[in-house]
């Protein structure tokens, strides 16, 4: 009897596709990824958006300029304060009003607190995605302190709507400074514990190191921004390139890692929390006292023209582009959301990876789906 010997190259496996999402426990929200699979290998990724589309840009055309701000809370809800600030800055830039120093300092402190809260939540969820459930509990415990501070001053825990054109909604609560000063040493003492718990863990290291490589060239050409691009060594921090609010007065450095793998993106965010704390420390002791609202008219009308303001949110470069035709509501509003461009990079770096690694890669991308799908 003749024996048939199969060569492994002759064996053809069949490609098939599976849907990851829109209701997937490992995806952060309603993101649907159509994966073309060959065994365990991901051959192609096609994101399908539209599950949480609320046409916020179109809604903005029917709202007055003060009313736009509460809609931007609902884009990237984890960095809601920075989104509010971006719209407020764009309107102020168009109307050429100078806001009081106190407002600038308050906005910067609030922005950095929101950034820390966002990174803490990301750290918890990231650990959970790669199989460490404890991180979720620890991160939420510390994030709760920021939420309490926000609740006391802004009246809301997540969608603050705190910045208004020309100022902020409320003055700082009398407890604010003390509570922030309590929080800073607390977070400085727990981040080393986080590192010990998760960063040094050998299983975590093996899932992170040399997985999901994104080259600097790809990061630039695909429009990545924020910690995703900085993990590949691309300097793109809007806070340094064009400092807004009180950021020109503070001293901090941009975190850059050259490796471009999962661990680099992870480290960028962990180190950024220290930088944010450093910014808050410089501002918290001498908050100027010159009012919380610049004089604006009750009905805001922008002059004719096009206005662009970019800020650095927790996920990257957030842009607000307003086209005004001189009426009380904008002709067109465009939001440049960081998550959408970062999703492009996932399509590139998720190819030829294992399915399990794709979860880890998308965890380090830190997606917030309402931001991608406005």
């Amino acid at each position: 009897m003749e024996q048939v010997i199969y060569n492994s190259a002759d064996l053809k496996s069949q490609e098939y596709f599976i849907n990851m999402g829109p209701q997937h426990p490992a995806a952060h929200g309603v993101l649907r990824l159509i994966l073309t699979m060959d065994g365990e290998m991901v051959k192609n990724i096609e994101p399908d958006l539209g599950y949480i589309h609320r046409s916020i840009e179109k809604q903005c055309e029917h709202e007055g300029y003060k009313q736009i701000i509460h809609l931007t809370d609902r884009l990237d809800y984890l960095s809601s304060h920075m989104n509010n600030e971006a719209v407020a800055l764009a309107i102020e830039q168009a109307m050429q009003i100078e806001v009081p120093e106190r407002v600038k300092v308050i906005r910067t402190i609030m922005g950095e607190l929101t950034r820390i809260a966002s990174h803490l939540l990301w750290w918890g969820v990231m650990g959970m995605d790669v199989g460490a459930l404890t991180t979720f509990m620890y991160a939420f415990r510390d994030r709760e302190m920021i939420n309490d501070i926000m609740e006391e001053t802004c009246g809301a825990r997540l969608t603050m709507s705190y910045s208004t054109p020309g100022g902020v909604m409320f003055d700082l609560h009398p407890n604010f400074v003390n509570r922030v000063k309590e929080f800073i040493p607390h977070l400085r003492s727990v981040i080393p514990k986080y590192d010990e718990l998760l960063t040094g863990n050998i299983i975590f290291q093996k899932r992170m190191k040399n997985v999901g490589f994104l080259s600097a060239q790809d990061a630039i050409s695909l429009g990545a921004s924020g910690p995703v691009a900085r993990g590949s060594g691309v300097s793109c921090d809007r806070r340094i390139i064009e400092p807004y609010s009180a950021l020109s007065k503070v001293d901090f450095k941009e975190i850059l890692y050259q490796e471009g793998d999962n661990l680099a993106r992870y480290n960028v965010r962990m180190k950024e929390m220290y930088e944010s704390l450093h910014i808050i420390e410089q501002l918290i002791d001498n908050i100027p006292d010159d009012g919380i609202q610049a004089k604006t008219k009750a009905l805001i009308k922008l002059p004719k023209g096009e206005f662009l303001q970019r800020v650095e949110t927790a996920r990257g470069d957030f842009g607000v582009y307003i086209v005004s035709d001189g009426k009380k509501n904008p002709y067109r509003v465009k939001f440049r959301s960081p998550g959408f461009s970062n999703l492009n990079t996932l399509m590139e770096i998720g190819k030829n990876q294992l399915l399990g690694d794709l979860i880890a890669i998308s965890a380090t991308m830190d997606f917030v789906i309402p931001d991608i799908d406005r």
Partner: protein, 159 residues
């Protein structure tokens, strides 16, 4: 060699992690030292005084409110949460027709707690309540009439 090295490395990092979690776990079960969770329905929730729960209208003991029906809140609202039904009623003392609210309707289900109505109110008639127990079995119960039945405008409050 690296095979056994990996095993020992794995056990060591496992123990390092257990040290952190154990450091929280044992003091918590013995003395509740690091316990931060609250037994919510038994213990009342701590809510900040500025918490934006729902919009309410302030009434004094004579069932009088401060709302003149100027509709500034209705115009300021971004999504039509507030509707005011009003009428002009003849004031017998001055002989002029005065705007009087019939119903100040507030759709809690649509409200995004943006604070613009309260900022816009010239007479401080509406304000935030910290009540957050807003869950109902029926959506129609989320439509509220803020002025109490039979309430009047407080004397001396003008637009």
């Amino acid at each position: 060699m690296s095979y056994f090295g990996d095993i020992f490395g794995g056990i060591r990092s496992l123990l390092t992690g257990m040290k952190i979690t154990g450091g929280y776990f044992f003091p918590s079960i013995i003395g509740r030292k690091y316990t931060i969770t609250r037994q919510y329905p038994e213990e009342p929730a701590v809510v900040a005084e500025r918490f934006k729960g729902e919009v309410v209208m302030w009434h004094n003991e004579n069932n009088e409110h401060r709302c003149t029906g100027c509709q500034a809140c209705e115009i300021a609202c971004p999504n039509g949460t507030i509707e005011i039904i009003w009428d002009r009623v003849l004031n017998e003392e001055t002989g002029k027709k005065v705007k009087v609210i019939d119903k100040h309707i507030y759709h809690l289900g649509m409200c995004t707690m943006c604070n613009l109505c309260i900022q816009a109110c010239p007479t401080n008639a509406i304000m935030w309540s910290t009540n957050f127990h807003n869950a109902t079995f029926d959506r129609s119960q989320l439509t509220k009439v803020l002025n109490h039945p039979g309430s009047k405008l407080m004397t001396g409050v003008e637009e």
